[in-house]
Symmetry: C2
Subunit: 365 residues, 2 copies
């Protein structure tokens, strides 16, 4: 049997509470289904900084590199707002993405039927929404050099970041988007700002070429990223798969998530390239929501995004498609049953805490 | 009497149709109120490229530099999709912004009561919305160097753009935001990605210092730009003035505009620094919508954003506050009366064309 080594990096804020529910789930799967997961744990973010002055230690990085998949909670909080830039909590996440070469970030924006009414958008605009944002995750302005603040004297400083994309990076991320589109509605929309950015010109060119060479069966549209943001708000159902760069993907995926009214519910997967020999991809799974320090430790956090991230892990890292479907079904079932954590509570529903929500999903699973 | 020289750059697509309504309005103001506007015209965008191979000619640039204010329509269309990057239609607009040093882009996102129901957001989320996005317009990734595509050989290219901000640029744009906040709800939210970008770190630092030194009476919040985008969708009324950089401002202002359901209605002003001697600011006024080539020439375009841009011109360039108020009142009045162009048409209203809408507003004025 192939190994199933999971590294759990719960992080800060509500990360540990949410992760605790996934741990229970893993234990249940091992006990009842003999799923054979082995888990290890490490520190990332503010808690890692407190423990050893870095947002992730080299030892934990090594564990992440060796694991079959990493489950990641959330990082950051006001406690670490003043720590030096290089060791801020987010640096741990960024190092994981970069060192593991997790170039493909998959962010489904799904509107759970039970929650359609809780969106700030009209119900008919979001009901049944199911789009997938494929965000490039190891390039662009996040990592380009120079990235620095220069002291110019006379009280003047200069802040510089560099947006860089190479052909191969655009090729591989658009390949992922086209492949995934084939399993969905077969429609990709590529977004950039080619009218202002040279990287956008190249992005547009390479996506077009990749499409022509290998994926001509998929419908491809191009949209300027600002217009794309508008269209997401106006009529999101026009999209199936959106492929875009690191920074636009950050903005657009958060907006798409918020449209659904289900931000506490949305998972993500960050994948590397398949290994030439083993075909295995390095992978990290993470809820879209942040560390929510304001509600941490109160037992009220919504664990669904973290659990749904584990469902993506089952699907993409271990090919356990039936189990992933079943787990996603269990989430939908407890929602249909009327269970709600505080963030998604509405009239007539039953408010439950983190642990009860986790238990209910495990029971349905 | 101070001079009132206007340069009209109608541009492409629906630009000329919308501008024609403003021309009628100016003629009426001159005839009935003796407003004393002198107008000249020039070419920008695709039509300028067709006429002389550049997105704006040096002669027209000179006119723009000399004018008291520039009224700008819209640029671009499929006809010019393949022209070289340097002379693409947008290059004309970008040159105007850069050469005139129009660093402050003011984009009000107002939800006209008569149109609240036409937003894709729930009526209670957008009704009464009145926020102002103050976007930095002459810096950042739009203009930073290097900006180029390098051929790396082996079929590989590299696209590079550079995000650069200096202290003084952040200082002056945040000054504009704080000043404007004082005339409104006295609340500024600054948005950047300081957790990923060094320019964001500097942005945050300089806005904080400027606030402390000169505007401590204004309420200041900081938000990460991705979270800001989410909050705009979730509950936009939490904002008063948002100050942000060129690229985030492009995305966020388009999203804010779309929230209102009134995208065909929204104006913008781009202002330079006050001249040391004359105190006059260079200025360009422009609708937020684009050139909409699909409906150009049909007489159905909504001229309201262009007319509302002229109202901003009256207010900011000529201190004609009473006239600006009156013109904005006339726009609201024709909407209350039930007149609608096609883009904002809804049941029970009267659909009118561009010319009728313009005439109705001029009559009410
Ligand atoms: C935490 C932060 C560095 C991160 C990002 O900007 O990528 C987050 O916003 C995300 O989208 O995963
Ligand atoms: C036309 C384009 C260059 C421009 C921009 O990106 O600034 C437009 O989107 C805008 O917001 O005014």
């Amino acid at each position: 049997m192939a190994s199933k080594n999971l590294l759990l990096l719960a992080g800060d804020g509500i990360g540990p509470e949410a992760m605790a529910e996934v741990k229970k789930l893993i234990a249940a799967m091992n006990a009842k289904l003999g799923s054979g997961f082995a888990t290890d744990e490490g520190l990332v973010g503010g808690c890692a900084y407190d423990a050893h002055g870095a947002a992730i230690s080299d030892a934990d990085m090594e564990k992440a590199m060796a694991a079959d998949a990493v489950l990641f909670g959330a990082v950051g909080g006001p406690k670490w707002d003043k720590v030096p830039y290089e060791v801020r909590p987010e640096a741990g996440l960024l190092r994981l993405r970069k060192d593991m070469e997790l170039f493909a970030n998959l962010r489904p924006a799904i509107c759970y039927p039970a929650l359609a009414a809780s969106s700030s958008l009209k119900q008919e605009v979001v009901e049944g929404l199911d789009i997938l944002i494929v965000r490039e995750l190891t390039g662009g302005v996040y990592f380009g050099e120079p990235k620095q603040i220069i002291d110019l004297g006379n009280g003047q400083k200069r802040g510089i970041d560099t947006q860089v994309y190479d052909t191969f990076e655009i090729e591989r991320i658009s390949g992922v988007a086209f492949e995934l589109a084939r399993t969905r509605k077969n429609h990709v929309t590529s977004m950039e700002k080619r009218n202002v950015m040279k990287s956008g010109v190249l992005w547009n060119e390479v996506v077009t070429q990749t499409h022509k060479a290998k994926y001509a069966d998929v419908k491809l549209d191009h949209m300027l990223a600002d217009a794309g943001g508008m269209q997401l708000v106006r009529w999101p159902k026009q999209f199936d798969v959106i492929v875009t760069d690191n920074l636009f993907g950050d903005m657009l995926s958060d907006i798409a998530a918020m449209l659904t009214g289900s931000i506490g519910m949305l998972p993500s997967a960050s994948l590397g390239a398949p290994d030439v020999k083993t075909k295995k991809r390095k992978a990290l799974y993470e809820p879209v929501h942040g560390s929510a320090p304001d509600i941490a430790g109160q037992g009220i956090a919504n664990p669904i995004a973290m659990i749904a991230s584990f469902a993506m892990c089952l699907r993409y890292s271990f090919g356990m498609v039936a189990e992933a479907d079943k787990l996603e079904g269990a989430i939908a079932a407890v929602l249909d049953q009327g269970l709600r954590t505080k963030d998604i509570m509405s009239e007539g529903m039953s408010e439950v805490g983190t642990v009860e929500m986790g238990d209910a999903i495990i029971t349905k699973f």
